[in-house]
Symmetry: C2
């Protein structure tokens, strides 16, 4: 038992699960960005043929999961467990995506950390012996998020310089108990960290301390140095949050040379006019299940640390004057099993 | 591995975790009901001394977890994992309850099935070897739910006969890898079931088919008859949903004699004027962590099947004309380990 627990927050998988299939589905703006060639499906119509933005988001989840299952050579009926979550009130993008699918389902809420949270849960349950196949899915949609969190699109609201742009996209990963990698080898589960940031248009600053907290826990509990990883990716802090993480490590005398952020990577900054970058559960989900895992398959990286970051606020909590709790779950993925 | 998986939806724990501590915190109306003597804390002031109903809900979660930890003789720093969820948009009752607590946190969304979902996740991760202590917490608050899902309290809205009353309460269970029971022995993880009910004031009817689905899966995959259990409890279908479950089993030639529902049990019907009964994540959470586990400790029951039921709708999905997806996770709890 104790072998699996490396420290307060970090677990090491005894039999690291394989990510056997992965897929990403995005909208037009993401398809105009620098990672376009890595996405499985780019739809020029952000409605995905549905009658509401919320239904469009569910459609993206279904497409991403189906594509990931196809790549893994599995039917939905193979899945022992499906973990999914999104940003909508009561997580309806996920619930309605799963409706009609013959799969045991456990719903998550981790804000933009959901993809990482799903990987953690899927890996723990497979390694724990509770099935052979599990999937993790996460999504967000610019149009459903905008009217829920901010203002209806038709208002044409102004954005502050620190704001981020919610990614329209869904990512899905299908994990198997046995396989040839890439392997999920470790997970560092986040604590809620809140340093008092109250500006809901500056979520990068709110989440950066949570990222720093989980990253330092991961390095200390695994005994690994940041340089162990070919790439450390947070998602999605944006440009400002990324610079804060770099500063926090610099204060410890550590220069993170191999570090980037999904919110910065997914859009062409500043050309695409998304201010500090991308955000939303879909952001890190599509960067992982598009660019990152594709890059590992193509030999670009052997070891990555994927750190999903979430801002656990709501419009109500902001209106009530509350600061923004952040969380970050770090997941180590490697092309080699025995690391 | 295969030993732990009994069928498509059901897992059996190799080393069933013990529920080492449990606690329930409720408001005034619940304290006026028939289960009053089983709750740990009844507050005559539903604000719990906080400035908003949302913060009151977070306060209940903190009180319930602290009390459950006290009974287990553990500090928060013992917890390897905390699973929590609620009904509020972006699950802020849970996130803000966990803020400031030094505990690895994984957020859930399962609507009113959250307590059962948390037990499932805590049991799988402990049995999987990822820690020695885990907690599951769930809550709801009549006043925060009413203004979010229906109308502000000040409107004095009329309720339809099939409506249920959101319970003001939070329940917490602290599970340990080793202990003397009661033990979580099996879990049947639900699929999303939607039979087309669109009336958001009739959630019992919407969720009953999900309860029937998971119950029949549980019986078939474990080979157990309903009579194996001293008590089968759904939560929270209310009077109408309960009668539908009984009817669905009757159509199969099965008379469920040992069956009740948390939504029916928690209030005095019809005297407390809650129409079909209680609802909300807090309902099954406080009935389990008050009445049911206390009853097992006092020798009233040896084997119970706790079936958390959730309606995975949102006000937006209802306004868009959608029907209501339901889910049910069934958790077998026994005073004996080797069952």
């Amino acid at each position: 038992m104790t072998v699996k627990k490396l420290g307060r927050q970090t677990v090491a998988f005894a039999n690291p699960p394989t990510i056997a299939g992965y897929a990403s589905v995005v909208g037009k703006k993401e398809g105009d960005g620098p990672l376009a060639t890595f996405f499985d499906l780019i739809n020029q119509d952000d409605s995905f043929g549905e009658s509401s933005w919320e239904k469009a988001e569910s459609a993206m989840q279904r497409l991403a999961l189906q594509s990931a299952l196809d790549k893994a050579g599995q039917a939905p009926s193979s899945l022992d467990l499906l973990f999914a979550g999104d940003l909508l009130n009561q997580c309806i993008a996920s619930s309605f995506a799963v409706r009609g699918q013959d799969v045991p389902f456990l719903g998550l809420y981790g804000a933009c950390s959901t993809m990482a949270e799903g990987l953690v849960m899927a890996s723990m349950t497979l390694d724990g012996g509770f099935g052979n196949w599990a999937a993790a899915v996460a999504s967000s949609h610019f149009c459903s998020a905008e009217r829920q969190y901010r203002t209806p699109l038709e208002y044409g609201g102004q954005r502050t310089p620190t704001a981020q742009w919610t990614v329209t996209g869904a990512g899905a990963a299908v994990l198997s108990r046995e396989g040839n990698g890439p392997y999920v080898t470790h997970a560092t589960i986040g604590k809620v960290v809140d340093k008092g940031i109250k500006d809901a248009n500056n979520m990068g600053a709110a989440m950066a301390p949570a990222a720093y907290s989980s990253l330092t826990a991961h390095f200390s509990e695994t005994g690994r140095k940041p340089s162990y990883y070919d790439l450390i990716v947070t998602g999605d802090l944006g440009e400002l949050g990324k610079s804060i993480v770099l500063d926090l490590f610099r204060a410890d005398g550590v220069e993170l040379g191999n570090y980037d952020d999904c919110g910065v990577m997914i859009f062409d900054l500043p050309a695409q006019d998304v201010h500090c970058g991308g955000s939303g559960c879909g952001c890190s989900a599509v960067v992982l299940n598009g660019y990152l895992l594709r890059g590992m398959a193509e030999g670009r990286w052997k070891n990555i640390l994927f750190c999903g970051t979430g801002a656990l606020l709501s419009p109500i909590s902001s209106l009530q004057g509350e600061s923004i709790p952040g969380i970050c779950h770090a997941v180590a993925i490697s092309t080699e099993k025995g690391v």
